[in-house]
C-alpha cells in the first residue's frame, strides 16, 4: 500500500519542478546576464547605489513588524483567555478584512490620510490645526503612513499564529509552575513566553516578508517618494525603467537576505512547521 500511495507524490514533484524550481532558476540566470544574455556581474555591482532603498525597506519593515508584535502579542494572549463565544467572534472579525482584498484596505487609508482628508478635516474641526498654526498635518507620503499601512494590513498575520500557539499551551505546565512557587510574572517569563516563541517567530516571518517587499502600500500611502525594494523591482519589470535583469538580481538579493534572516531566526526557535495559521 505504501508504494501505491507514494505515486501520488509524482505529479506534484513534477509540478513543483516546473512552477517553483525552474522559475527561480530562470530568475538566477537573468540576474547574472545582460540584456543580450551574456554573463555579467554588473547587476550586482550596481546594487551599491540602491543601498538607500535596501536600508529603508528593512528599516520600515522592522518597525512595522515590531509594532505588530507589540499589539499582536498581548491581544492574542488576552483573546486566548476569553470564553469560546468571544474567541469565535473575535477570530471571525480578524479574518473578515482578509476576504476583502488587501488593496481595498490600503485604499481606504488614502482618503483618511490626505492633506485634505478625513483626519485633517477632523483636526481642523476640533481646532487642533489652529492650535498648531498649520493648515494641515502632512501624513500621506511619509514613511509613517507606509508603516501604518503595513501594520494595518499584516496585523492579522501576527495575531493568528501567536493566538493558536497560546491556545494550545498545556495548562498543566502552568499549574505545575505555579505549584512550584512561581508568581504570575515568572510563569509568563519562564513558561508561556518560551512556549509561544514558535508562534511569535512565524508571526514575525509572516509580517516581515510581505512588508519588506511591498510595492502597493508604499506606492499608495508613500506617494512614490518612499521607494521600497518592491517598487524598485516593479519598476524594472512593469514600471518606468525596463531592466528585468537588474530586477531579477534585486529580487535574488532580497530573497537571500530574507532566507538568511529566517534561518537565523528559526535557529532560535524549534525548527518544526511553524507557519500553521489556524
Amino acid at each position: 500500500m505504501k508504494n501505491k500511495l507514494s505515486w501520488f507524490a509524482v505529479p506534484y514533484v513534477v509540478w513543483m519542478a516546473l512552477m517553483v524550481v525552474i522559475p527561480i532558476l530562470i530568475m538566477v540566470v537573468y540576474s547574472f546576464t545582460t540584456a543580450e544574455f551574456q554573463g555579467t556581474l554588473e547587476n550586482f555591482s550596481e546594487m551599491g547605489s540602491y543601498a538607500g532603498v535596501f536600508l529603508r525597506s528593512f528599516r520600515l519593515a522592522i518597525v512595522a513588524t515590531l509594532i505588530c508584535l507589540l499589539i499582536g502579542y498581548p491581544v492574542s494572549y488576552w483573546m486566548a483567555h476569553e470564553g469560546p463565544g468571544f474567541q469565535r467572534v473575535a477570530m471571525a472579525l480578524i479574518m473578515l478584512p482578509m476576504w476583502m482584498n488587501f488593496l481595498l484596505r490600503t485604499y481606504s487609508w488614502m482618503s483618511i490620510l490626505e492633506n485634505n482628508g478625513l483626519l485633517n478635516q477632523f483636526f481642523r474641526a476640533v481646532g487642533l490645526l489652529d492650535l498648531l498654526g498649520v493648515e494641515y498635518i502632512p501624513m500621506i507620503g511619509t514613511s509613517g503612513a507606509v508603516v501604518l499601512g503595513m501594520v494595518y494590513n499584516y496585523l492579522p498575520f501576527m495575531i493568528l499564529p501567536i493566538y493558536s500557539v497560546i491556545l494550545k499551551l498545556d495548562h498543566s505546565l502552568l499549574e505545575a509552575a505555579r505549584d512550584l512557587g512561581a508568581d504570575s510574572q515568572r510563569v509568563f517569563r519562564k513558561v508561556i513566553l518560551p512556549l509561544s516563541l514558535p508562534g511569535v517567530l512565524s508571526g514575525v516571518t509572516m509580517v516581515f516578508v510581505p512588508s519588506v517587499s511591498t510595492f502597493a502600500i508604499s506606492r499608495l500611502l508613500g506617494g512614490g517618494t518612499q521607494m521600497m525594494l518592491g517598487d524598485l523591482i516593479e519598476q524594472q519589470f512593469l514600471g518606468g525603467a525596463y531592466d528585468p535583469h537588474l530586477g531579477a538580481a534585486i529580487s535574488m538579493v532580497m530573497m537571500v537576505i530574507v532566507v538568511v534572516c529566517m534561518v537565523v531566526m528559526n535557529h532560535f526557535g524549534e525548527g518544526e512547521e511553524q507557519a500553521v495559521m489556524l
Binding site: 507514494s6 532603498v53 476583502m100 488593496l103 485604499y107 519588506v212 519598476q235 528585468p244 532580497m254
Partner: protein
Amino acid sequence: MKRQNRVGSRLVIGLMFLFLYAPILLLIIFSFNAGDSSAVWKGFSLQWYGKLFQNRLIMESVYTTLLVSLLATAIATVAGTFAAIGLYSLGRKRREALLTVNNIPMMNADIVTGVSLCLFFVAFFQGWGTFARWFNSVQSAVELPDRLVLGFTTLLLAHIAFDIPYVILNVAPKLRQMDRNLMDAAQDLGCTWMQAFWKVMLPEIKPGIVSGALIAFTMSIDDFIISYFTAGSASSTLAMAIYGMTKKRVTPEVNAVSTILFLSVLLLLVLSNIKEVRAEARERLGAARKPSALDRARMKLAEPRFKWLRRGTAAVLACAFIASVSFLSYATSSRPVVNVCSWGEYIDEDLITQFEEATGIRVNYQTAESNEALYSLLKSGGADYDVVVPSDYMIGRLIAEDMLEPLDYSQIPNFSLIDDRFKNLSYDPDNRYTVPYTWGTLGIIYNTAMVDGEITSWSALYDDKYAGNVLLINNSRDAIGEALLYLGYSVNTTDEAQIREAYELVADANRRGVFQGRVMDEVFQKMEGGNAAIATYYAGDYLSMVDNQAEGVDLAFVIPEEGSNWFVDAMCMLKDAPHQEEAHKWINFIASTEANLANMDYIWYASPNREALEKYPAYYEELYGEELDPEVYEIMAAPPETLERCEAYLNLPAATLNLYNALWTQLGTS
C-alpha cells in the same frame, strides 16, 4: 487564570478592532455619498451602486477574481490533498526535502514568486513560439498557435501554484495524526482500496482539507502582487482594477463594490457560525432534542440507498459549473475583439460602446501609466495589444526596435481628415505606422489659493517655498526634461553632463523634501482636492481638473517662460497584432470627425483632425448653450506662437536612454 484585568484587556482588544474596522466603515459610509469624493460628505445617495453595475471594468474584474479564486481553490485542494498523501507515504528523508521545496513559495516574498513565474511563462512562450512555427512549417494538418501571452490561464496556474502549499500544510498534520494501520485494517476487513480511501482516510483528514481550502481561497482573494505579474493585460482581478484606478480618479464605485463584498462575506461568516454553534449545542444536548423536519430529511438523505442521488446531484452541479464557465469563456472569445491600450482618462467611453454596437467588435480597453511603463509591458511579453497610443518619442523608439506593424491606409479613409501639420512628423517621417490621436502641451498646473502670485518659471518646482506641496511627474522623460528646460538646455540633449546636471537639480529638490510625491494620473485627485499646490501635467488634463475642482480650489495653467514640450500621441498597431482587421476599423473610427469632437469634449485634448479642431467651439456652443471661453480653447489647442516656444521629444540613442533609466531609478533611492 487571572480575571482582574478583563476590563483592561477587553479595552485593548476593542481598540484594536476599532483600528481594523474604522477605515472599512468609512469606506462603506462614503459608498452612499451623493458627491464623488471619498472625503467630503454631500448627502445620501445610492447612485454609485447603480453605476457600479454599469462599470464593465469593475464587474468583469470581480467575475475574474471570483472565478480564478474558486477554480484555483478547487484544483489546489484536490491536488494538494493527493500530494500530501503521497508525500506522507514517502520515507522521512525524501519527504523533508520535498516539503522544503514546497515551503519555498510561502517563505518567499510574493513579488519574488510573481517575478519568477512571469519570467518562466514568458520564457516558455518564447520556446513554444519557436516550436510551433517549426511545427507549422513542416506539416499543414494541424495549425498550432505560435503566439501565447500572459492571460487568464497563467493567472490561474500562478494561483494554483501558491495555493497548493497551504493545502498541504493543513492536510499534513492530520495525516501525521492518523493511525497508519487504519487503512490496512480496512483493507484486511474486505474493503477495496478505493473504499478504504473514501471511507477511512478521507473522513480522518477532512478537517485539514476544509481548512486548507479555506486558507487557499483567502490567499487567492487577497492576492494582488502575484496576479499583477502573471495576469498580463487581457484579464485583471479586482485588486488590479483598483490599483489601476487609484492611479487615476477613484470613484465611489470602488467603495460600493467593497461594501457589497464586505457585507456578503459578513453574511457568510454569520451563517456558518450560526450553523456551527447550533451543531455544538445539539451535541451538548445529545438526543434530547426532537429532530426537526429538516434534520429528518437530511438524515434520510444520508441513508446508503440515496447514495446515487447524492452523487448524481453533486455531478450535475459540477457539470453545470463547468458548463457555465466554458459557455462564458466561449461567449466572450467567439466575438471579434480588438485589444486597445491607451492612457487613463483618455477617451470618451461612449465611443467604445458606439463602436461595439456599430461593428459587433468587442473592445478590450486597457490603460498604461506612462510611455515607459507601456514599453516595459510590451517588452515583458505581458501584453496582447493590437492598438497602442504612445507619444512621439516612444513611437520613434518602437519603430527603431521593429515593434510596430505598418498600417494599411486604404483601410483608414479618415486619415485624410488629419491636418497636414500632424503628418510625416520626425518620429514617423514617411507616415507608415501612425494615425495621430491628440496633441497638446506640458505645463505647470497650480492652485492659486495655495500659491502667492503668478508662476511663470519651472523654478517653482524646485522652490523650498512650496516644500511638501509640489508633485513631481512620475516619468523620466518629462521630469528630467523640465529640469533641462529650466537650465536652458534642449530636451533632446545627449550630453551626459547636461542630463546629470538636470538630474541633480531634481534629486536635490527631492532630498530637500520639496516633492510631496511622484505622480502620474494620481495628479487628478491630488490637485482637484487641493491636496497639493503645484504639479506638472498636460494641458487637456488641466481642463478636466478645473471641471472637477473642489470648493476652495482654483487651478491655473501656465506654459513657463523657458518653454516646454509639445507632444503628439498617435495610434499604432503592434507587430504581428492578432486582430489587424479590427484594429484598422478601430483606428479609422477614432480618426473620424465625430469621434474626435466627442473626445475633445470629454478629455479636453486638442484633436489633430482638421474639421474637428475647427468645429469644436461651435460644437461646444450647441451642446451647452454657451460660448466656449477662447482662453480655454487656447489652452486646449495651443496657438502657433506658443508652440514655437515648445520642443517635441525625439527618440534618444540607447546610451542616453540607459542613462535616463539609471538616473530615474536612483532618484527614488536618494
